[in-house]
């Protein structure tokens, strides 16, 4: 793989030698790249006077995400997470600092949500994933057996880098927070290389706006709207937004499988909402959006109101938004040049 990349880089260099592109300009140029990592598409759009420098910074940021994928993946058998999942049952294991930090942050969200958000839900997720692929709905006995493995309180964290599981079958899945963490680290790489105005996107569901585009107040992001009637938007400036939504219900079947599992019931979450959460970091928005989807608008709004600088919106197919604007204003403005704000805490 490394050899291929070097060859590709060399070819690109050769091609650049005859391609007529501007080395640098007074006006910042937008450079956009995408890469498949962590089972999804990461995209970065960055402004800089030198497109070559921006391209290099973006590549470095992607490499940081690749490095994190090698640690946080539960698909790769040699990742630090996979090793932890195999060996930490009643045994303390030393883990890389990034893995420790992500798990620590995830546990904080679990505590904050009273266990609604739980990265130990992996065995249940796998059970229901199989149902999505056509294995049929798992039996109650299967569900019960697997549920006994779940519970964030069974994760023992010993700073700065030691973790053990107080369960013989606990498994962690960082899918609900890992991409956000990777986006934050990628943004650090861009900053370290002098790129201050960029938009980073992980799979379309977690977005971080660094700085602003030229002559703009921030990065306008249109949010998921299941009703297709509201067009919620938010302006990001050094902020992140993430959206969570349950898998759409079947058109031809009567199953209730979905990729977000409610740890309380052990079954796919039944909700009609899509939730977007706006926070200062991508790790926080990623974890919080899933948490708020699981909590629902009533409990979720109470949680957000207790947080500083956080906004959130729940939107159903019936186009009745529930908004908390404790941070950047989430605006509703379908078909309008100047979206109408519903104000704070409506």
């Amino acid at each position: 793989m490394r050899c291929d990349r070097r060859r590709a880089a060399a070819l690109l260099g050769l091609f650049l030698s005859f391609a007529s592109i501007v080395e640098s300009s007074e006006n910042p140029v937008l450079v956009y790249k995408k890469k498949y990592i962590m089972g999804t598409i990461f995209e970065i759009a960055a402004y800089d006077q030198s497109p070559q420098h921006a391209a290099k910074a973006i590549e470095n940021a992607f490499q940081e995400i690749v490095r994190l994928d090698d640690l946080l993946s539960n698909y790769k058998p040699d990742s630090a997470l996979s090793k932890l999942n195999r060996s930490a049952h009643f045994q303390t294991q030393r883990v890389p600092s990034d893995l420790y930090r992500v798990i620590d942050q995830a546990v904080q969200f679990s505590k904050l949500s009273g266990g609604e958000f739980d990265i130990s839900v992996a065995p249940l997720v796998n059970l229901w994933k199989a149902a999505l692929r056509g294995d049929g709905t798992p039996s109650l006995a299967q569900q019960k057996e697997v549920r006994s493995c779940v519970g964030y309180e069974k994760i023992a964290l010993t700073p700065p880098d030691r973790i053990s599981f107080r369960s013989p079958c606990l498994q962690l899945d960082l899918g609900a927070i890992g991409k956000g963490y990777a986006v934050d680290r990628a943004a650090e790489v861009l900053h370290s290389m002098g790129i201050h105005d960029a938009l980073l996107v992980a799979g379309g569901s977690t977005i971080l706006g660094m700085g602003t585009p030229p002559n703009q107040a921030g990065w306008w992001v249109h949010l998921r709207d299941p009703s297709n009637k509201i067009d919620p938007q938010v302006l990001l400036k050094d902020e992140s937004v993430s959206t969570s939504e349950q898998t759409a219900p079947s058109l031809l079947g009567n199953g209730s499988a979905g990729h977000i599992i409610d740890p309380e019931t052990g079954q796919p979450l039944k909700t009609e909402f899509a939730v977007s959460a706006v926070t200062k970091t991508a790790s926080a928005s990623d974890g919080l959006s899933t948490t708020l989807l699981l909590l629902g608008p009533t409990k979720g709004k109470a949680l957000v109101k207790d947080m500083t600088g956080v906004s959130a919106v729940w939107i159903s197919h019936q186009a009745q938004p529930e908004i908390v604007n404790g941070g950047p204003q989430i605006l509703l403005g379908k078909g309008s040049q100047t979206p109408v704000s519903l104000g704070k805490n409506q």
Binding site: M1, D4, L11, V29, K34, T40, I41, R133, G203, G204
Partner: protein
């Protein structure tokens, strides 16, 4: 478009069938390098003022020359035959297809010695697609925040073309994506060109490659970097020029019955993206064709009386027939129905059934997932893991799966797990970069064979070998 008339139309159309996939290169500017150096022999020139001089030069450089013209200039382009061209390529947009049906037979009759090829110019640049949309005022936005990774593929277009002119090789092309306002113009890489060639090759289609003008100029000027890039691209064209695999047919156990052949239909794009091998049929095929090999039949057409009877036959044989946007009175409705959900009624016929979906497909992603569930694990011809950017196309010979073509739109090495229906003695793997063939470790259980592609970068091919006494 009326499918029956379309088939008749294509009897008049002669297309190249010398290989299972042929790459034509469209040259628009600069001195034309010799065919031996470019490594591709079929050159396409536009019908314009410089055609005559370019055609003369191209023939001198050893090419078979074709002229491409918009369909509405077809008559004047026939003059190009005087320059010794191999054929006239008619670029026909979807909106012109009805006119083509009327005009092409007349054109052919008036010019019996000219070889006409019909080109679908409405392909899309194959790529892994992101969710960012860059707007005119340089503000960036993100659409569909929860959308899954997406790819732009021409598989549905090729499937439709295969149905439109059965027995003929589809021919298509596309324009490279333009940069958005304020965005640096992306430089097309060897991987971009290779992916375009690989896609057409994997789908067994002919393809017109349009090298960027800066690349054409650089090749004309003997730029070393440009030639290094081009030689990479050539390896992909060579990879798909092997006539040994000619004669195989795409394997599918899902039939899609259509009235209108619209390649922009997202349902078929999603079936392709979910690696559900399907074949496009017209309603007439349903009436008279043999459908034993299909487990699920999706009907987007409004069934007439004959088709309705055929649908009952299929369900009685144990197949699942899905009638989409079912609005009408049909004979199976005299039976007791089971309400599946608010959208769907099921009419059981033993182990088969007719499912009536009362509305059009509003969510093609969910629909494709539903189809995979309806097929069931036991009938899944192929399943991929870690393959969200990968399309697999199975081919069979005499009813037996023989070859799998893989395309990875992410253009970077990927480890992909594959499960294919059937117990195979051995599995061999080749790529344009690693020539034939590496033996892959395979495990077999419950009538399926599993293996891992170690490093699928853009294209790969797997050969499946049966046990000797099978």
């Amino acid at each position: 478009m009326n499918i029956g008339r379309t088939i008749l139309l294509w009897i008049f159309v002669l297309v190249s069938t010398s290989a299972w996939s042929n790459v034509f290169v469209q040259w628009t500017g600069g001195a034309i390098p010799p065919a031996t150096e470019l490594g591709m022999n079929d050159l396409v020139l536009s019908w314009n003022d410089s055609f005559w001089s370019q055609a003369k030069e191209a023939r001198k450089q050893g090419y078979r020359v074709y002229v491409v013209t918009p369909f509405n200039q077809a008559q004047t382009a026939t003059e190009a035959v005087a320059s010794g061209v191999e054929g006239v390529i008619l670029s026909v947009r979807q909106s012109e297809r009805a006119e083509l049906e009327k005009s092409l037979p007349k054109l052919q009759a008036a010019n019996p010695r000219i070889r006409f090829l019909v080109l679908n110019p409405d392909g899309k640049q194959p790529e892994m697609r992101g969710s960012l949309v860059i707007k005119r005022d340089s503000v960036l936005e993100v659409s569909s925040p929860t959308a899954q990774p997406w790819i732009d593929t021409n598989l549905a277009l090729v499937k439709l073309e295969q149905r439109s002119h059965q027995g003929q090789v589809p021919l298509y092309t596309f324009s490279w994506n333009e940069p958005s306002d304020g965005e640096q113009k992306p430089i097309l890489t060897a991987a971009d060109y290779s992916l375009a060639i690989a896609e057409a090759g994997a789908f067994h289609a002919d393809f017109i490659l349009r090298p960027d003008e800066s690349l054409q100029k650089a090749l004309s000027e003997h730029n070393a970097g440009a030639w290094t890039l081009w030689n990479q691209v050539r390896t992909y064209a060579n990879f798909y020029s092997n006539p040994a695999e000619q004669g195989m047919e795409p394997a599918a156990n899902l039939a899609v019955v259509l009235d209108n052949l619209d390649p922009s239909d997202e349902v078929m794009n999603l079936l392709a993206r979910h690696n559900l091998p399907f074949k496009v049929l017209g309603q007439s095929d349903l009436d008279r064709g043999k459908l034993e090999g299909y487990d699920v039949v999706i009907v987007f057409a409004k069934p007439d009386q004959t088709t309705s009877k055929r649908i009952i036959d299929l369900a009685t044989q144990g197949k699942t027939v899905i009638l989409v946007d079912a609005d009408g009175v049909y004979p199976w409705q005299s039976r007791d129905a089971v309400r599946v959900n608010e959208h769907t009624l099921s009419y059981p016929f033993g182990s088969g059934k007719v499912l009536e979906l009362s509305e059009p497909v509003t969510d093609p992603e969910t629909f494709a997932q539903d189809i995979r569930r309806l097929l069931g694990k036991e009938n899944a011809l192929i399943s991929l893991w870690n393959g969200l950017t990968t399309i697999a196309v199975p081919y069979r010979d005499a009813g037996t799966l023989k070859t799998l073509e893989f395309i990875n739109y992410a253009e970077e090495p990927l480890r992909v797990q594959v499960q294919v229906k059937g117990a195979f003695a051995s599995v061999h793997y080749e790529t344009p970069e690693r020539k034939c063939c590496e033996s892959l470790e395979a495990t077999r259980h419950d009538g399926f064979t599993e293996f891992v592609l170690p490093d699928l970068r853009i294209a790969g091919r797997v050969h499946l070998n049966r046990w000797p006494d099978d």
